[in-house]
């Protein structure tokens, strides 16, 4: 279908054009949302078609576009829709994009959540041109991160993501937006710089005069360019850089601040997409390129993952703000991603990738519902809420489903992901399984407790509820669609697994990852 068409570049280009058009609307600013929606639906449709083609022809590297470049001779990875153009010749920097089973689900998740977040912000009246324009810029950055196969390009997109998010928190955020915006910016920027220095070191150490991810991985794996000490340091630096984004304890403190102050759509994109960038970086860059370093630090990754899972869950119990609770729950759920990766088994890594996809869907619902509560009731403080199901039955139904999905109810998407993470953990570390298992109980506890206090029981009298009404169409449509997908992929998780697995098999069969030759 897309043979000979640079489809990934087109998908990335459409939101860029959309952003420029949106910024330049001038006095027609009130039409910004229509423009932005149009320019985000187009990449969504195209990316779904890409996904369909990927499923239909999963093993044909011939699909896609090879501009003056032979098919990558490196047989380890199997990227499709591959594009390659020279960018900065003398430094070996190229524009290379491509998708495989790990990036494709996240790529589609990006176009999906961007569209839904734009729809969800339909009533944004304050500076709509800038708001919707920045959403599209953000989409460009995240799409680029998930498809770039050159470190320079990857880093460019990685940093591009920061700026729109900084503005979204800083301009449209809550009362402490200044603090939260700058904290988010500095925190994640420092982490990015650790990645940057490591990229430079890997480039020189590899000695192949190329910033291509595949080239450097080849130098590492087949030429043995990276010694053990180098791998250890480089992996540590990358793990820190990507881990801040995930976020892992103890570098998670930017997250609750950013989430609490960000506008709802900002939170959706932050939790749904930006956190995935960290996990994606670990599985795309750090582990395959530096397998020995990863192997040496395996236990550390697992311990940090388990601490993130448990500590994040316990923090949730203590939260009074609904949104802050959801924010902390992200730390806990993203811990499962790290735990899956830490096993270095096919099942664990695939489950980790799947958990990223699942968490993206589920957490979007949760943040949207927090936004609805804030919007209708004027507060998200759990003690002030209560009995809202009487006033907003549809909203409370959606919220209940969202919470149940997030706590891992069988039949919904998170259950499949977390179950498999735990299964792979059992295969690797046996009965240490009891540690992460604890979190399942805590998670059920904080979600159900929050639900009971805010949605059920007698109607609250602490706030004026006379004007509280149910969800608007632009809120219910995105949430319903997400819930539909949560249920579909909960029942048929293998659809996604079939996409992810072949790519993961390639990574787990790399030499050196499990200490083997």
């Amino acid at each position: 279908m897309f043979s000979g068409v640079p489809i990934i570049s087109i998908i990335i280009l459409i939101p860029i054009i959309g952003a420029v058009v949106t910024f330049c609307l001038g006095k027609y600013g009130k039409y910004a949302k229509y423009v932005a929606l149009a320019f985000s639906v187009a990449p969504l449709v195209l990316s779904v078609l890409v996904g369909v083609e990927f499923l239909v022809e999963p093993d044909s590297t011939a699909t896609g576009y090879h501009a003056g470049f032979t098919t990558p001779t490196f047989g380890f990875f199997n990227f499709q829709f591959y594009e390659h153009y020279t960018w900065i010749h003398s430094l070996g920097i190229n524009y290379i994009v491509g998708l495989d089973g790990i990036s494709l689900p996240l790529f589609i998740l990006t176009t999906l959540l961007s569209t839904l977040a734009i729809l969800f912000s339909w009533d944004t009246a304050y500076r709509p041109k800038e708001y919707f324009g920045l959403m599209l810029v953000l989409e460009v950055g995240v799409l680029g991160v998930f498809s770039a196969l050159d470190y320079f390009l990857f880093y460019v997109f990685w940093e591009v993501v920061l700026i729109p998010m900084y503005f979204m928190i800083g301009v449209w955020g809550g009362p402490r937006k200044d603090y939260a915006a700058i904290k988010f910016f500095i925190y994640t920027h420092v982490a990015s710089l650790a990645i940057l220095v490591t990229i430079m070191a890997m480039y020189f150490q590899a000695g192949v005069n190329s910033f291509g991810m595949e080239d450097i991985a080849r130098a590492s794996l087949t030429l043995g360019a990276f010694g053990q000490t180098f791998q250890l340091i480089a992996f540590g630096a990358l793990f820190f850089g990507f881990g801040v984004k995930v976020p892992m304890v103890p570098f998670h403190t930017w997250l609750p601040d950013a989430h609490v102050e960000a506008p709802t759509a900002g939170s959706v994109l932050l939790a749904g997409l930006l956190l995935k960038m960290g996990g994606y970086g670990i599985i795309r860059v750090a582990i395959p390129t530096l397998p020995t370093g990863a192997h040496d630090l395996q236990l550390l990754i697992a311990i940090i993952a388990i601490i993130s899972i448990l500590y994040g869950a316990m923090l949730c119990l203590a939260q009074k703000d609904l949104k802050k609770m959801v924010a902390y729950s992200s730390i806990s759920h993203m811990g499962f991603v790290l735990l899956g990766f830490a096993t270095f088994t096919e099942l664990g890594i695939a489950a980790g990738v799947f958990q990223m996809f699942a968490h993206g869907l589920v957490t979007a619902v949760l943040f949207m519902m927090c936004g609805v509560v804030q919007h209708k009731c004027g507060t998200r403080e759990i003690p002030l809420l209560g009995g809202l199901s009487k006033k907003m039955p549809a909203a409370s139904t959606m919220m209940t489903i969202g919470f149940l999905a997030s706590l891992g109810l069988p039949g919904l998407v998170s259950f499949a992901a977390e179950f498999m993470v735990l299964a792979s953990m059992f295969n690797t570390w046996g009965l240490w399984l009891w540690l992460p298992i604890l979190s399942v109980a805590i998670t059920a506890g904080y979600y159900l407790w929050a639900l009971q206090r805010s949605m059920f029981g007698p109607l609250t009298e602490k706030i004026d509820t006379t004007h509280v009404h149910d969800v608007n169409w632009y809120e219910s449509v995105p949430v319903s669609l997400l819930i539909f997908l949560i249920a579909i992929f909960g029942v048929f998780p293998f659809v996604i697994f079939n996409i992810i697995n072949p790519a993961v098999t390639i990574i787990t069969s790399l030499p050196g990852l499990l200490g083997g030759g």
Binding site: L91, V160, G170
Partner: protein
Amino acid sequence: MAAVWTDLESLIPQLVLIAFALLLPAVDYLVKNKRILSVVALVPLFALAGLVVVWLFFDLWSPTNTMTNLVELNTLSGLFMLVFFSVGIIVVLSSPEFIAKDRNQGEYYSLILLAVTGMTIVAEGNDLFVLFVGLEISGIASFALSGFRKSEKRSTEAATKYFIIGGFSSALTLFAISIVYGVAGTTQISAIANALTGPTGTFTAIPGSETYLLLGVVLFMAGLGFKVAMVPFHMWAPDVYEGAPTPVSGFLAAASKKMGFAAFFKIFLIGIIVTKGNWEVAAGALAILTMTVGNLVAVSQTNIKRMLAYSSVAQAGYILIALPVGTQYAVAGGIFHILTHAFMKSGAFMVVAALGAVAIGERLDDFKGLSRRSPFLAFSMTIFLLSLAGIPPLAGFASKFVLFSSAVYPAVGSGAGPDWLVWLAVAGVLNSALSLYYYARVIKYMYMEKGPTDRIRPTPMISFAIIIALAVVIALGVYPNAVISLCEQAGSLFPLLPGGPV
């Protein structure tokens, strides 16, 4: 006649500039509409910049006889001249509004052209004395420029300070030149290198003279350190940049300083490179100190011009990385960063000048709500500041990428060099993160704070200047390929340095 012409060919820029500089006061006397002056001043700058672009980028024409004993026209001098001409254009375009009510406008433009003349001499200079003459021509014109508003106390104070410090640093430089001459017996830079090193590449001048040479190194560092505002010789920069008329501040930060780097690179990385083992640690420490002090002090500034001044101190620290690393690749990175910094810093100063022209102050508070008053100015300032912070895909990122990576190279892979150099990259990277704080704060004031809502309309000329800078900053960020190759060519003109990774 033909012979005279070819001999003079490498001096065309200087001759053209001086002719126009002499012409301008006469034109001032003749015309009533003073805007014509700026147009007259733009003619040579645009013509020469065009010539350099045609020569470097399009290869349509190139100078034939490019080398004499004293000056040389090559990629290195071409790139530096491009920086000086471009900054000159940007500054001249921004000036008419800013100095509309001042007297002696003819002299103002004349001084700018003379300062550019001095800079081009440094760019081309092949001899310590030529460098010194260039530094002085440009220096004296700059002193007068920063004191252009005679009746304004701040301006006069800035000029006095700048003059005293400048004179002092010139004296140190001259002393250093005399010492090097005493040891090497020549003032021509490549001949110095030959005189100091034998075929073995070790120090082979008169036994015992090495000590004196080191004194020369220290004096050069101090003298040129003043010019580039290297810590601890940076104190003058914020005061002068704050006091001088804003376009002049931009000129000093974006062009004058770069002249200092041209001299730095030529003297340290060609002339006295054999002593590198003696000063590389000191240079590395000074680079880290310069970037850190510049950024730390910038954080607490509430005056934008002072903040930009300290930021340019910090940027000088980044560029200084090229000295201790001392590979051709590092020099390429240094030149590239000089080029990008010239555009982003002059652009930022011109935004301040555009506001100054409509009587808006230069304090952080004055930037409140700027995005509502002038979306164009706020957007441009945002791009310049983000580029200064090194956020991709802007020019500042690309050049920092090359520069910082050059410091990583010796420590890993096949690059032979001391491992500690990698800390220069780490320091640079951490400093970039620190600098983001104060750059982002300005952006925050412009976009997130509420301020006055009356519209500001910058005049076409100043908008044009800002658009030039903006276009270059974005273009060099998105597609730096051609410029990086040129910078690498320029780097390869440092024959005594080890090559880079490519």
